[in-house]
């Protein structure tokens, strides 16, 4: 935008954009600020902006009540585990689709994406019963397995779009150089696709971290992730605002930071490469 915009319009647009952005950000800002207030201040009839007396007691209280660290640990295992497992299954599949496409490749991709269209509630009951019978309810590995299946289509699709940008010549060169499939994938394809694989990883970790259907319906205590942790704060109300904010902040902070650092790649990834 090198057009000669007058300084006034520029100031005007900047002010408007910041105002809207801050409005959108207000709920998060509110959470951050309230997390450091006392309960009394948080529900005071005349609300304060910055905490009058800065306190960390809410965080301690949250940890005592619901064991944040256990849930956070579960969330990490669950989101990273399901994504890695998804990559292990997805990389070979995406390799096949990108580099040995057939007439049906696009249909297969569409079909995979369409499994995402299947509403979770449609299969909740059988999954619930299967999990109950296999004693997978409230286990981390059961949950991770489900998450892998949920995100697999997205993982494959993202990898596929990234792989398609890699010239097939280079893989053929590897074959001519004597590389068998394993070496072709591990030593040539994967290192070349590192940026794409990284953003696939990030996006799917975020989606898994924020997954709030299966994590809530299939866990009760042991395997609860942060979504379950935070849901446990939904019932009791009253003198609870500051602790709720502290808990919320704890639940979203890791992914918020990660998202901030990687937002550029994420946008591209989320559109399956269709918008660049």
């Amino acid at each position: 935008m090198a057009r000669a915009a007058s300084i006034q319009t520029r100031i005007g647009f900047t002010a408007l954009a910041w105002a809207i952005a801050l409005l959108l950000f207000a709920p998060i800002l509110w959470t951050i600020l309230t997390a450091f207030k006392t309960e009394a201040e948080a529900i005071a009839t005349s609300p304060t902006f910055l905490p009058r007396e800065f306190t960390l007691e809410n965080f301690g209280a949250v940890q005592d009540r619901s064991d944040y660290f256990k849930h956070a640990f579960n969330s990490i295992i669950f989101s990273v585990g399901s994504t890695l497992l998804g990559l292990v299954i997805g990389v070979p599949a995406a390799w096949a689709m990108a580099f040995a496409p057939t007439k049906r490749t696009k249909d297969v991709l569409m079909w995979m994406l369409s499994t995402k269209m299947m509403p979770a509630v449609g299969v909740l009951i059988p999954i619930y019963l299967i999990f109950r019978d296999l004693r997978l309810l409230d286990t981390l590995h059961g949950l991770t397995l489900i998450m892998t299946l949920i995100n697999l289509p997205i993982i494959i699709w993202m990898l596929y779009t990234y792989f398609k940008e890699i010239p097939v010549d280079i893989l053929e060169a590897a074959r001519m150089d004597g590389a068998e499939l394993y070496n072709e994938i591990v030593h040539v394809l994967v290192p070349m696709a590192v940026p794409g694989i990284a953003s696939t990883l990030l996006l799917n970790v975020i989606l898994a971290w924020n997954e709030a259907f299966w994590t809530i319906t299939l866990t009760s205590g042991k395997a609860g992730t942060l979504t379950a942790f935070i849901s446990s704060f939904s019932s009791p109300q009253g003198l609870f605002l500051a602790k709720l904010s502290a808990a919320s902040l704890l639940a979203i902070a890791p992914i918020l930071l990660m998202g901030w650092f990687s937002q550029k790649q994420l946008v591209r990834g989320l559109t399956f490469g269709a918008v660049k």
């Binding site: 499994t115 709720l244 559109t271």
Partner: protein, 290 residues
């Protein structure tokens, strides 16, 4: 690139993904179908056997079903409307020469990273609570009677929360598309004497069509299954005022332990999703062919 050997290898490489997704799609679906024709209640184990269409009649005949269906459509439609229009406007704004665009992008995308139950809780307690929510304070400031959002306008409140989560996503994708419109194209249009409105309709909007399709597709996938926001805020109420199909199935199957009826609801949900999916896939399938 297509020796018989590579083709064989590629089938082997695809097999795990295809097989697990096939199982994931078929097994539970068949079970859901099976249960939906059974009398199966966890509360009343004496009730067993073939139920015929009874479960479907029960679920679909219940007024709550129609309401949930309508709610689902309102939720998806409302959020799409807000996010597409709002996202386009915001993207156009962010594309102007403004200071701090990089930081703004980060601020604007933030709500997308907030997990649904947290988003719901923040809005419920921090903003929409009739006693100490920020909106109540605002209303009081102007001398108005604070609103009990989740009781008076439950669907609207849920839509606001969900739209807040998805507006950033729409904005950033549309902004990215907008920024890929080359300066030359715009200048050419300007040279041709097109004014801002004409430029928007004839140059910018067609260019963004693909991005908008993508946003609709992806959001619909997620919006059809909205669950946590409802569970945490209204619990589907008051009555069934904010229950969508997803939540209805959860209510019937898990909360009321009626597996048969819950499954029938699940089947209906799948059918609805597929109707939507067929339309979307048609539209998007062409567009996605990069």
């Amino acid at each position: 690139m297509a020796t018989a050997q590579t083709r064989t290898l590629s089938r082997i490489m695809m097999a795990p993904a295809v097989i697990v997704l096939l199982i994931w799609m078929i097994v539970p679906l068949v079970m859901t179908l099976w249960f939906s024709f059974q009398n199966y209640s966890l509360i009343n184990p004496m009730m067993t056997g073939f139920a015929g269409w009874a479960n479907y009649v029960y679920v679909i005949g219940d007024p709550s079903f129609i309401q949930s269906l309508v709610n689902t459509l309102i939720l998806v439609g409302g959020v799409l409307l807000i996010t597409i229009i709002g996202g386009t406007l915001l993207a156009l704004l962010l594309d102007q020469p403004i200071w701090g665009q990089g930081i703004l992008r980060i601020i604007v995308i933030s709500p997308f990273f907030v997990m649904p139950p947290v988003a719901a809780l923040i809005w419920k307690n921090g903003f929409m609570h009739p006693g100490y929510g920020m909106l109540a304070h605002l209303w009081k400031f102007f001398g108005l009677q604070p609103i009990d959002w989740f009781n008076q306008y439950p669907m609207f409140s849920v839509i606001v929360i969900v739209a807040w989560q998805w507006l950033p996503f729409a904005t950033l994708i549309l902004l990215t598309a907008l920024q890929s419109l080359s300066e030359e194209q715009r200048e050419a249009a300007e040279m041709d004497g097109a004014n801002a409105i004409n430029r928007f309709y004839h140059i910018i909007l067609p260019h963004m069509a693909r991005a908008i399709t993508i946003v609709i597709l992806i959001q619909t996938i997620f919006l059809l299954g909205i669950f946590a926001e409802i569970r945490v805020t209204t619990g589907g109420g008051p009555g069934y005022a904010s229950t969508n199909i997803a939540f209805l199935v959860f209510r019937t199957g898990i909360l009321s332990n009626d597996i048969g009826a819950g499954s029938a609801g699940g089947v209906v949900a799948v059918v609805i999703a597929n109707i939507v999916a067929i339309f979307l896939m048609r539209a998007v399938g062409k567009n996605l062919d990069a």
